[in-house]
Amino acid sequence: MTQYLLSTLIWLPIAGGFLTLLLGDGSRNLARWLSLGIAVATFAFSIPLYLGFDGSTAAFQFIERTAWITTFNADYSLGVDGIALPLILLTTFTTVLIVAAGWDVITERTAQYLGAFLILEGLMVGVFAAMDAMLFYFFWEAMLIPMFLIIGIWGGPRRVYATIKFFLYTFLGSVFMLIALIYMYLKTGDYSIAALQQLPLTATEQRLIFLAFLAAFAVKVPMFTITPDGSRELSWLVIALSLIAVVYIGFVALVQQDMKKLIAYSSIAHMGFVTLGAFLAYDIVANTGGVQGAALGIDGAMVQMISHGLVSGAMFLCVGVMYDRVHSRQISPYGGVINTMPKFGAFMVLFSMANAGLPATSGFVGEFMVILASFKANFWYAFAAGTTLILGAAYTLWLVKRVIFGPVGNDHVAALTDLNRREFAILAILAVAVLLLGLWPAPLLDVMRGSTHHLVEQMLSTKLPTP
């Protein structure tokens, strides 16, 4: 079984997704239970992945390899390292909650909605597990299809505009990546990422490939080890963008009137910590002459990524809970929600505190690590990153003050009903996860240790031909 574990995690939800699609809207309940069953099963299958993983080594594990497109030397090769594993777990975990969250909220085209999410889940696992660049690209691009449909069909009032915009921009970025991949394939004759990492590249080549990758995904750290010198040279760009994301977006989030937008902006600010932490290595070496702090930054970035998935997800769900009742995402129609929804209010305050990086919640761990690491690189990096302590608390708590606390704002708020069992269960599971990661992050760090150290070594290596 473990032999095909990764394939199972990819194809079980995809197959299940198509099966759900077939059900159509006639058997809505069956579709719900079927997709929940598949999501739970997929999550259950991801647990042996964690249990069987050896975190002390950087080697890929659970490897599967079959020839795929022989003409291009592209293989169907899968494997996970300490970086991919936590992200796969996050994917399978959140999909269960997503299926449950849409339960009686999505009443139109329910089966299609659930099917799209299951297919998306499988493709995402594929992105994390692919060891072949072509396969990676395949999953990466395929992901756009269900995402496109989800936004376009079940999105808000401007969903069509949003869908086209989303598609064009992600696709545009991906095309650059495709060009870079093909270029490297022409030089190596191989699409395996490991082979690309061995490929010697000149400074110019590395610079261009780096920018192409940056355009495609802003960050998928392991890919940047293909261009260590290009990364060294251009890391300032990523760091500058990250710090702008933290400070600039912090201010922008402050003035949002739409709760969902506010959380989306705050989410960008949090992702700024991910990219910041990942690219500190070069500056740390330049500033201190040692490498201590580089792995701390990457570890912090990873923890932040996982935590962001949980906390931002929870915050969005909280907005969803209110939207389902009042049908508004604006802040102004609320006020004093805790009076009528005390349980919900308690959850919202907890997740807000996690969003503001409170210790004992997952939101603290990554931010703290990245700030410590960024001081090693440059005092001002730490200074700019540290402003999140103030800005993050400001926009989050101001939101809480206006929405949750205060006297009952109006008749809508007075008529609110507290969480039902399903909503309570979803938020409670997320709350436990947020607290667990905040109080006991060691298991996550232990899984990643080998891989982050290896990553730092690769980032700090050089590919330039010796003169």
Partner: protein
């Protein structure tokens, strides 16, 4: 020391808090109260046991890890305890005051629907505060630091339907976050140099850090330890409400009074003082940082006292007094008198908690009236509250033999002994502060308990003295407010109680200096009338008596004569005005500009939609090229070939 015993001290209140928080409705009011009180009582008993072991049984101090939170890049982030003389003193003070407040809460919150929630919060606070003081590393210190902050947030906003309360709690959290911003940078600086979060490693590396520099700006290298210490102190300024980060403390009075006593007087706000004392091996090596501490503390001590004179809200008077007293402690830190700072912290914890709880008793008796102008003559109606308040007030102004006398007099003498930059200014401030303290304290006592009754009809109709559940804690706190200084000044301050827990360089050791003249607590107290502070305090009391009891019309007359000054004081030096109208407005304005101009116009408008328009325009141009006529295509082919050829030929050279 047994680590399980130490672990039980914070975990007992935590367990009680979790149970009564999550299952409060299930187990009911009485069970919640009983459970949390038992938890805190257990913590107190165990803390006393640890105290006994350290003080009398010669057990060495404890410093070890109990739980590894995470390891990354060789940096261990852990939960661990450092229990020495400094820690155990804080543990006893925290758990004792917390117990008094728990008991008092039974009566104070009796009619409140959030009874269980309140008990849960104050027990959670006790846990967080214990984690803070017992920590042996910066990670856990920061955890405790933030955790007490968040419980304070929840408690200030306990009555969440009041807009003023939800504003105050947000303000408190945000102002504290400004301090924490500095605090985190300080911690990061220590990790930068030592690669570790443990106190022991930081202290061992202190001498080497003192010789290093941080290149903060190109060409400007700052002394590393000074930067680190000032960053850490910014954290202390937030938590211990030093100017200009003091603005949240008066507003925190929106919370129920028991927490004003516990959190905003006795314990949490002293965390900054404790932290600097804990970090004495670092601060000692930076004269610049200590002078900064000194000047900020002195300014807070004097100028916050003035505000107490003009406030008519009984709780706010006590709050301004707390700000001023925290300034005194900070001054003590600034002159390297860490031990006297902690000593004053301890005596202050008792008498200030007492004054707050007494104020709370008055408020409850008056049916939620806080305006002193509507009180007066209450000493007949509530004698126990009156006499305990009087003890607290006499301790606060430094009456000989009362606990506050020993700590405050020693503190002022320590400032007089110091030759540090800023010590002269600080001496002026702390002496002036003595007069001011006596003035506002006895103004409060006279306006509340003496003179004519000015109760309005509502208060008169509903007046009822509080029960013994609220009076007993007052008595329990009055005893140490009276006696603790007398019995502990010798061992704690001059007997070397703190040992290695506090480190002072020999030429900075002002406490040792004044210790040479110390001849026991009786002689010390009898020597009181020989010094200026005694007469200044007396002057303050007499002035208060003249202006607020004997001739209240004088106060009104002076108020109009000095109306300019009065306006400045009533507006609290315009700090709030500045923060709300300049800082907050500018932030929101910046956010709007960045959003509208940056995000919407440039990124969305120009980049995103602009590029879409560009594509549209290009398509329009190329559409014209795609005429469908064969000759046209042939022409373009020729043009293209010519360009390619030209490029080929030119690049060949």
């Amino acid at each position: 020391m047994n680590p399980n015993l130490l672990l039980a001290i914070p975990l007992l209140p935590l367990a009680a808090a979790v149970i009564s928080g999550l299952f409060g409705r299930l187990i009911g009011r009485t069970a919640s109260a009983t459970l949390t009180i038992a938890g805190v009582l257990g913590a107190l008993v165990l803390s006393l046991k640890v105290f006994q072991q350290l003080a009398f049984e010669g057990v060495p101090s404890y410093n070890d890890t109990v739980y590894t939170w995470l390891v990354s890049d060789g940096i261990r982030m852990q939960v661990g305890f450092l229990v020495d003389q400094l820690t155990v003193l804080m543990m006893v003070v925290v758990t004792f005051v917390s117990l008094c407040v728990h008991v008092y809460t039974i009566g104070y919150m009796h009619d409140d629907a959030g009874y269980q929630r309140f008990f849960s919060y104050i027990s959670l606070f006790t846990f967080a505060m214990l984690m803070l003081v017992m920590s042996n590393n910066f990670m856990q210190l920061f955890f405790g630091w933030e955790a007490v902050g968040v419980v304070s947030y929840l408690l200030i906003g306990f009555w969440y339907t009041r807009p003023s309360a939800t504003f105050a709690n947000m303000k408190a959290f945000l102002v504290n976050r400004v301090g924490d911003f500095g605090f985190v940078l300080g911690i990061a600086g220590i990790v930068y140099f030592t690669g570790s979060l443990d106190y022991a490693d930081a202290f061992a590396a202190a001498p080497s850090m003192a010789t290093k520099t941080l290149s903060v700006m190109p060409g400007a290298a700052w002394p590393a330890l000074t930067v680190i210490c000032i960053c850490l102190f910014i954290g202390a300024m937030g938590k211990s409400a030093q100017m200009p980060l003091h603005v949240w403390l008066p507003d925190s009075m929106e919370g129920p009074t028991p927490i004003s006593a516990l959190i905003h007087a006795a314990t949490m706000v002293t965390a900054g003082i404790f932290m600097v004392a804990r970090m004495s091996p670092l601060f000692e090596l930076s004269e610049t940082a200590l002078s900064t501490v000194l000047v900020i503390g002195a300014t807070t001590a004097l100028f916050m006292g003035f505000l107490g004179i003009v406030s008519n809200d009984i709780k706010r008077v006590v709050a301004y007094s707390t700000l001023s007293q925290l300034g005194y402690m900070t001054v003590a830190l600034g002159v390297s008198g860490y031990s006297v700072a902690i000593f004053h912290l301890m005596t202050h914890a008792f008498f200030k908690a007492l004054l707050f709880l007494a104020a709370g008793a008055v408020i409850i008796a008056m049916h939620h009236e806080q305006d002193m102008r509507k009180m007066g003559g209450l000493r007949h109606r509530m004698p126990v509250t009156y006499w305990t308040s009087l003890i607290g007030a006499l301790a606060l102004i430094g009456t000989p033999f009362f606990s506050g006398f020993y700590s405050k007099d020693a503190l002022i003498e320590a400032v007089a002994e110091s030759h540090r930059v800023g010590a002269g200014y600080a001496y002026f401030c702390v002496l002036g502060g003595v007069f001011i303290t006596a003035l506002y304290t006895f103004r409060m006592i006279f306006m509340t308990f003496h003179g004519q009754e000015r109760l309005d009809h509502h208060a008169k109709a509903h007046f009822h003295d509080v029960g013994w559940d609220m009076k007993a804690p007052l008595v329990a706190l009055a005893i140490p407010s009276l006696l603790i200084g007398f019995f502990t000044v010798q061992p704690v301050l001059f007997g070397g109680w703190f040992g290695d827990a506090i480190q002072v360089l020999e030429h900075n050791d002002v406490i040792a200096h004044i210790g040479h003249h110390f001849q026991g607590p009786v002689a010390f107290a009898l020597h009181g009338p020989m010094g200026a502070p005694f007469w200044l305090a007396l002057g303050g009391v007499v002035t208060a008596w003249l202006f607020f009891l004997k001739n209240p019309s004088w106060a009104a007359a002076w108020e109009s004569r000095l109306s300019g000054l009065h306006t400045v004081l009533v507006n609290k030096y315009y700090f709030d005005w500045f923060n709300e109208n300049v800082l907050a407005r500018a932030s929101r304005g910046l956010g709007s500009v960045l959003w509208k101009a940056g995000d919407q116009a440039v990124i969305d408008g120009t980049l995103v939609n602009g590029s879409a328009k560009l594509v549209g325009w290009l398509a329009g141009v190329t559409r014209r090229v795609q005429t469908g006529y064969l000759y046209s295509y042939a022409l373009w082919m020729v043009v293209g070939l010519a360009v390619l050829l030209a490029w080929f030929l030119l690049s060949a050279h």
